[in-house]
Symmetry: D2
Amino acid sequence: MIKVGIIGATGYAGAEIVRLLYSHPQAQIVWYGSRSYVDERFASIYKNMFTLVEDKCLDDNILELSKQVDVIFTATPQGYLAGVLTEEILSNCKVIDLSADYRIKDVETYEKWYGITHKSPQFIEEAVYGLCEINRDKEVGARLIANPGCYTTCSILTAYPLVKAGLIDPSTLIIDAKSGTSGAGRGAKLPNLYCEVNESIKAYGVTTHRHTPEIEEQLGYACGQKLMLNFTPHLVPMNRGILVTEYASLVKKDGKLPTKEDVMKAYHDAYDDEFFVRVLGYGECPETKWVEGSNFVDVSCMIDERTGRVVMMGALDNLVKGAAGQAVQNMNIIFGLDEKMGLDFAPMFP
Amino acid sequence: MIKVGIIGATGYAGAEIVRLLYSHPQAQIVWYGSRSYVDERFASIYKNMFTLVEDKCLDDNILELSKQVDVIFTATPQGYLAGVLTEEILSNCKVIDLSADYRIKDVETYEKWYGITHKSPQFIEEAVYGLCEINRDKEVGARLIANPGCYTTCSILTAYPLVKAGLIDPSTLIIDAKSGTSGAGRGAKLPNLYCEVNESIKAYGVTTHRHTPEIEEQLGYACGQKLMLNFTPHLVPMNRGILVTEYASLVKKDGKLPTKEDVMKAYHDAYDDEFFVRVLGYGECPETKWVEGSNFVDVSCMIDERTGRVVMMGALDNLVKGAAGQAVQNMNIIFGLDEKMGLDFAPMFP
Amino acid sequence: MIKVGIIGATGYAGAEIVRLLYSHPQAQIVWYGSRSYVDERFASIYKNMFTLVEDKCLDDNILELSKQVDVIFTATPQGYLAGVLTEEILSNCKVIDLSADYRIKDVETYEKWYGITHKSPQFIEEAVYGLCEINRDKEVGARLIANPGCYTTCSILTAYPLVKAGLIDPSTLIIDAKSGTSGAGRGAKLPNLYCEVNESIKAYGVTTHRHTPEIEEQLGYACGQKLMLNFTPHLVPMNRGILVTEYASLVKKDGKLPTKEDVMKAYHDAYDDEFFVRVLGYGECPETKWVEGSNFVDVSCMIDERTGRVVMMGALDNLVKGAAGQAVQNMNIIFGLDEKMGLDFAPMFP
Amino acid sequence: MIKVGIIGATGYAGAEIVRLLYSHPQAQIVWYGSRSYVDERFASIYKNMFTLVEDKCLDDNILELSKQVDVIFTATPQGYLAGVLTEEILSNCKVIDLSADYRIKDVETYEKWYGITHKSPQFIEEAVYGLCEINRDKEVGARLIANPGCYTTCSILTAYPLVKAGLIDPSTLIIDAKSGTSGAGRGAKLPNLYCEVNESIKAYGVTTHRHTPEIEEQLGYACGQKLMLNFTPHLVPMNRGILVTEYASLVKKDGKLPTKEDVMKAYHDAYDDEFFVRVLGYGECPETKWVEGSNFVDVSCMIDERTGRVVMMGALDNLVKGAAGQAVQNMNIIFGLDEKMGLDFAPMFP
């Protein structure tokens, strides 16, 4: 039985780890860390867990925690883990970080987009970017996993097959992303009030959203060159779900555009062995509802011969595959368990 | 491994059985019956099951089906099962009926409220009303289970402890119920369109809703006398969930109203051994969100000393404990399995 | 042209006054009072008014304000107006108060339910309770209007005809109310976050909600006796709208229950001359959507002969007839304008 | 007083014309045409108009109607008006068509995208494309107005200033559009059910949506060359509102990208005299909520210097500026009234 500690257990992502691990046969949470709710029962803050979790929340003493558990999940604000991580902690237990602290290899890029000085850059190199479907092999033996962002996971997995196969021109990539409101967290802020969000849609963080360099870096590895793209997130009146719609110019070969068969082959080559990535039929549009509550990502694409572009689409649940579910999937991988353990259930509809 | 057939697999309740049984370790669906989608892949109609269910839908030949399975779930319109059920079917396999056909013992009452002639009243007596927490013992050995309605389950379990303990006057009971829209089914009708339901609330079926006599009958057993009550359902702009708010006059003993301790004792006496009924603190208001996707019912109450009434409240997920989840719970009971099997997971929040 | 000042212009109710008065031909806002946003443009806080309102917000110096305007609307927290109101202010201009400070005639009742010491009880007697359809005549010449609460307006207008006509027993009255989330105000509090409200329904303030004594007092006037009732509000995932479902036992005359014709006659007697109260057909269920954005209240009822009770139903827009619209209607009355001025537009659907 | 007839009065767009004209001081509806509800009271189908409209629905005899009114609005399916329009009708009264029949000048393009044979192409040339802010002058004296589509109005007005000013390369234009569900109409279809739309977002009509050629044609006029673009609509769980997010490469001059000042100047040059187009601050993101229920369009943009692209954004209410409101605005123009008449009210928030 893997002993688990969570720091930031009472944010939406942390609480989702609690929900998922309740059904995990090989993991047991022993530390519900929460700065805001120390000494309160976890189940009085997240009443879905009433009668299921008896524990109270503890403070976030990560060093002490690291001695008691096999793995720590940090579902914390940017900069927290970088500020407290030490070699001693990493020698005590595994760390799976849901913040951005160790996702970006170039510390300058991190500091520029996040406006924070990185306090422990010495661990960046050993951190493995935990996008399971792509980096699974690198995770074996890893001590520190940088769990990818929600927008990032969806954006990358949707474009990855065509980028890797060289079928699209990376410099033309435009990502228009739409997210449910749980992505904004549980902070009591005016823009997140029901009446402000309901019956409305808007873009935000235009040209400046922090997930941009993370997407660029990972897709850059896939195509072997640096790339810059447009990423525009939108806030949608729903609790969960991210949909990305991505546009790129197809690369002609011998004067001809890639065909429907070419693009679908790229998707199937990339994902046919993956349980959690479901390749829909050509031109079939993913809907966030069909993956709700689950660790699945649904992807597809459609060619526009008139403009020579391809429209790629992907959908996931931002709290599961976009956060807690992928974190559990990473835990399974680094502990040598079946990757699907605790995650093999059907999406909820409607 | 229990072999399962579903008739009406492509309605919301039927599809929820499919979702739940996907994670059930001892049951396997072998027949996805659907009059509307014969020969289409189930997963093309419910895309949440894409890659998880490969089967196509079959017609609803229940006799043939009964020879191939251990249990049939009928998630069908009122009157269907009564029209086709035979002794041969019941001798072939168990039947768990999610319609109202066998819920009401008095056939005249059934025919009056449903406006249908009952075509096989001979099976009414042997049918067990499958409200697990109350009738569990009667289900052992049963061939035919009448799975309770969604409003009914919530209404009964919320009032049952106080009715049974004689703390309230049954003739004063008023039930004001609020339901998510999945309760209206997947039929393409104008009143269920998004723009008609969203941003609105309304009552419907005032004084005439068909779940009324079912509630009256079952609560009548609890208090040992016939009762008539007001039941008013409302349509709420959300997918899942039923909340009931129930009002009744408290019965004085020796000139004194029951106390907070008296009413809570009644709830705890009734439910402390029940996994799926969670008794909240006195006066704590249940929210449908905290049980979403799960088989739990949350109940509580509060006394109003000014008026001498008690306000009882209960919340459940209409598609789970209100339909498919309770049906699976019934299956577990009649096959001698752990009652929680396949249902022991946490509600989803947010 | 009536000069208007608003204190609390940047709450939802205050901003709704701004929206409504934009189209009012005889009123002009000259003071947008807002403690939180002094010196900021009103239209930067409520962007719906962009290009339509150029003014900046001012502080809430009510004495100074009273010298510059003909009428002040106070859309402020409980206790504010009672703390600052003076004879001088009332001699300078009219005051229409959207808080509860002057709604309840019995100061002890006010202080008990609101937990506040009333700081200027000397003005309570002269204040007119501004439920236009009932107190219109008393408003002529009034200096101080206590604008009714949102739940209150809906609850009273729905029951008033049957209470007044003596057709129901007031001691049996139970009000189950459902409100959209704008009723909770624009404060940045966790329970009002989108993800907490969406896809859920709950009761709150059970047996203790502050609108209870206001409803009891006004309905008491209608039937000529004191009454106590149960009032239970619920939070519904929608922006606007209140629906009330009210239950009461019918009073028999000569051993017979009132008929459908009797109850409808009471409604028509009460409201046939009222533009803003629409009496639906017998048994027709009001929906909040059909009054959205407007000053209308839709009411109806249905008799349950089995239980001898009547179910009364009413719907309004909590920010319009439940707050700002009624305040404007009151302004029209006390200034001798056509009561419909600025309010005669159709509800928005969908 | 202008006498108005509506054909298709009981669709969402038709009913919105009824709502708007209720407050129009110079227009009166005398014919509520509805194939589905002949002889039923309009207000029994759209209960928001209860007590406000007494008329019954009539059939859609357009020739007869044309003799009785000054203007006909056709809010009808594609192909209807083309099938019935005659010279006689046009000599009797003005026609404002909310369908696509006369929007596209090239009949082949129309027939290809709509899959319909155009039955009266002889009127295409005289029809004026009623995008008021751009074609106002051409509308004087027009008999037939082709009222623009909802997506189209938003897409064009958002890009128009930069296209016209030559600041962007038209061949790089990508339009990602998001619409509320009322755009799908009031037809009882499964994909429009509440539970199918709520808590989900999806793209549809990818590369094939019929508004594409309409946008291309009009923007082509603005830049003086043919263009092809990508247009991807999405369905959003809200009733009203369209948001477009548009991407295009900026055109360098003397090796330099246009500046923030350059792009904003283009917007202000285009719209500073327009009441209904509101130019937000540079980089300020429009939200559909801030224009809800009104005839306004809010637009803005932001440059991404890293990629050399500009992100343009626009928001409107699809039933008002995207349909009925613009139709009324067109009516005002062709009858020489103040363009704002009946439309000069504030958006509703929240």
